[in-house]
């Protein structure tokens, strides 16, 4: 079995073979012996032997893992209580940090991350904006939330209107 996993913007190649609860898992060429015992649909207990990686050969490291899917098709893998987002075989998230904005090239389409009411629009069409500059304030869950630019650019479209309620995913602003 082979997988390509995207974690933190990096792709890892994973191969695994199985014998009962015991797996040999090779991540980017390095092989780990793993005993994986399932607790329920979401939870696993892993015991990982990593000879050669530690000053103490024969160490068996315990990891409590909880795996949930998010709305984007990625997995959220909690290692202990640390969440790690993993996209399996190209199932990347459609949005990333900073209010659904994608860093990099191409237009940024800022969408409402949750249902709420547009309280303030802080930019005008044609305005030049910097990354992390607040663009729109949406009130939701009793809080005013600033939605910010994901990158530098120019405001090309404004769909948000002050006082109007919006659903999650509603397009608010486009930056070129």
């Amino acid at each position: 079995m082979h997988y390509e996993l995207d974690i933190g913007g990096r792709t890892r190649r994973v191969a695994l073979t199985r014998s009962g609860d015991d797996f040999a898992v090779t991540v980017d060429g390095r092989t780990h012996q793993v005993q994986a015992t399932r607790i329920d649909a979401q939870r696993w207990s892993l015991l990982v032997s990593a000879p050669g990686r530690s000053d103490t050969p024969g160490r068996r490291v315990s990891h409590d893992v909880t795996i949930a899917s998010d709305s984007t098709g990625s997995l959220t893998v909690h290692v202990g209580s640390t969440p790690v987002t993993v996209a399996v075989n190209g199932r990347r998230r459609w949005g990333r940090k900073d209010d659904g904005a994608v860093a990099g090239s191409g237009p940024q389409r800022l969408a409402a991350p949750m249902p709420g009411k547009v309280v303030r629009v802080l930019v005008a069409p044609g305005e030049t904006v910097k990354a992390r500059q607040p663009l729109v304030v949406v009130e939701a869950m009793k809080m005013e939330n600033e939605l910010r630019a994901g990158r530098d650019g120019t405001v090309s479209e404004i769909h948000a209107r002050e006082g109007v309620s919006v659903d999650a995913g509603a397009l608010l602003i486009v930056i070129q």
Partner: protein, 507 residues
């Protein structure tokens, strides 16, 4: 008192239910449409629907709450905090219906709810207030008059809404040129938020601490203050971490601040639970800021260091009992307690709310850990209310041990399905300024700004590798719901995985 209606939801409703249970009082819940199976409904003896999910159609509807109280035969109402807790009309309506309101009198709520009337009460009690305009500035007061007042007070000056709270309707003005526009903006915001556009001016203290004093007043004239709470860790004027005692308050300062707090409360004949908020400047001088005429979110830390139950005392006071507590013991904390407010927010995305379904939950427990929560696996965090899902409290023999305990508890805390502020607290509690107790009310906003959006969760290379291993094993072993197949090629398994995981998420 046999039956008590709780005009609230979430963790504070659960907290009040527990107090009722321990006192042999029957708790009655109310719920909006989205709260039908919320914990406070299931833990109560009775439950009444009060309308649609939007607060103004349910939890803020005085008529429906009074109806529910009558329908259940309740003889008392506890407002919790938020919603109608500081609404004098609600308190009056409860009393008019012949029920006991668990809180101060409508008059006390009204007086202390006005920032300017509260300032006047503090001045009458001989307690210092932050230098300010003294009087409320309604729309008729001219820009020129306001500019003159501001000049007397000195810059930087704060423009604040008289009816305000939580930083709404507030502006910081650094120089005279910005004053007029700031007053306009604050008036407009206050009008929208509170229906009252009146503002006032106050000198802005430099790097002050927010220290507050819990107190209880009975119906027989006794007012007792408690050891202070340190609430300077705030994000955009919202408290996120509280602790008791404060790392910087000496016993002598404690004696002054608590006497001052009691004096203010006595001036207005205050009864039941309330909190006097002070600003403490860098020279150790303190100033009355405002009074909260209700139970505070952060009351548990006081309970941990004094072994008292403040909600039970609220009820006992309301039914006429005498405050027969040893005043000295209330000022002598045992150990140190810290509270982290766990919110359904994404700290790595500018703390945006993260409502949704909690698909897995593991709450911490064990020595010195208290989790005041209304969260539960399988339940939704609705979009309509405050995104607080739990108040995590750590109590230990000393401040360093309490910090270590809170870090341990945060490590145990697992919430899957939504984002929470747990990773943010893990980061915050490791900051040297926090560990050393060197902070003030703008510390957190400053340090957050300086991080420039750097994520709070930065998994190590080892952790990412374990996540990769786990994701691969999970994917290969995820079988479709019909029970056939196991493995196959990676792409197919991954495709099936998605469906399965969604089904699992529904459980």
């Amino acid at each position: 008192m046999r039956k008590l209606l709780i005009a609230n939801r979430g963790e504070i409703a659960v907290r009040i239910i527990r107090a009722c249970r321990e006192m042999g009082i029957s708790p009655v819940a109310v719920y909006s449409d989205c709260d039908r199976i919320a914990p406070h409904v299931r833990m109560s003896d009775e439950a009444y629907a009060i309308g649609p999910s939007a607060p103004r159609e349910s939890y803020l509807r005085i008529d429906k709450l009074i109806d529910a109280a009558k329908q259940s035969g309740a003889d008392a109402v506890h407002p919790g905090y938020g919603f109608l807790a500081e609404n004098e009309d609600f308190a009056a309506a409860v009393c008019d219906a012949g029920l006991t309101f668990i809180g101060p009198t409508p008059k006390a709520i009204e007086t202390m709810g006005s920032k300017t009337a509260a300032r006047a009460a503090a001045i009458r009690a001989g307690v210092p207030v932050v230098p300010g305009s003294g009087t409320a500035l309604d729309a008729h007061v001219s820009d020129a008059e306001i500019a003159k007042l501001a000049g007397t007070i000195g810059y930087p000056v704060l423009v604040k809404a008289v009816a305000g709270g939580g930083g709404k309707g507030m502006r910081i003005v650094e120089s005279p040129a910005d004053l007029a526009s700031a007053v306009r903006a604050a008036r407009s915001e206050a009008g929208t938020a509170f229906g009252d556009s009146t503002v006032y001016l106050e000198r802005r203290l430099v790097r002050p601490r927010h220290i507050e004093v819990q107190l209880l007043g009975d119906l027989h004239g006794t007012v007792l203050p408690f050891v202070e709470r340190e609430c300077s860790i705030q994000r955009r004027h919202q408290k996120v971490v509280e602790e008791s005692p404060s790392p910087v308050v000496s016993p002598a300062l404690r004696a002054s601040m608590t006497s001052a707090a009691a004096a203010v409360a006595k001036t207005v004949g205050y009864t039941n639970a309330g909190t006097i908020e002070f600003l403490l400047d860098e020279d150790g001088r303190f100033y009355f800021l405002e009074m909260n005429t209700r139970l505070q979110v952060e009351h548990p830390i006081t309970e941990m260091v004094t072994a008292l139950d403040l909600v039970q005392w609220q009820i006992r006071i309301a039914r006429g009992e005498t405050l027969d507590l040893d005043p000295a013991a209330l000022l002598a904390p045992r150990g140190h307690a810290i509270e982290c407010r766990i919110y359904a927010e994404d700290p790595d995305n500018n703390f945006l709310p993260s409502p949704g379904t909690i698909v897995a939950l593991r709450a911490p427990n064990g020595p010195g850990v208290r989790d005041d929560s209304a969260a539960s696996a399988g339940l939704d965090v609705p979009i309509f209310y405050d995104p607080l899902i739990s108040k995590l409290i750590a109590w230990a023999g000393s401040r360093p041990l309490a910090i270590a305990r809170m870090r341990r508890a945060l490590d145990e805390y697992l919430v899957a399905g939504i984002k929470t502020t747990v990773p943010f607290f893990t980061w915050l509690l490791a900051q040297p300024e926090f560990v050393d107790g060197r902070f003030h009310t703008t510390y957190l906003d400053e340090i957050l700004a300086s991080r420039n959006g750097r994520p709070f969760v930065e998994p190590s290379e080892d952790i990412e590798e374990i996540a990769a291993i786990a994701a691969a094993i999970h994917t290969v072993l995820s079988v479709p719901a019909n029970g056939h197949g196991n493995g196959g090629n990676g792409k197919a398994a991954a495709g099936r995985w998605k469906t399965d995981a969604r089904l699992e998420g529904l459980r």
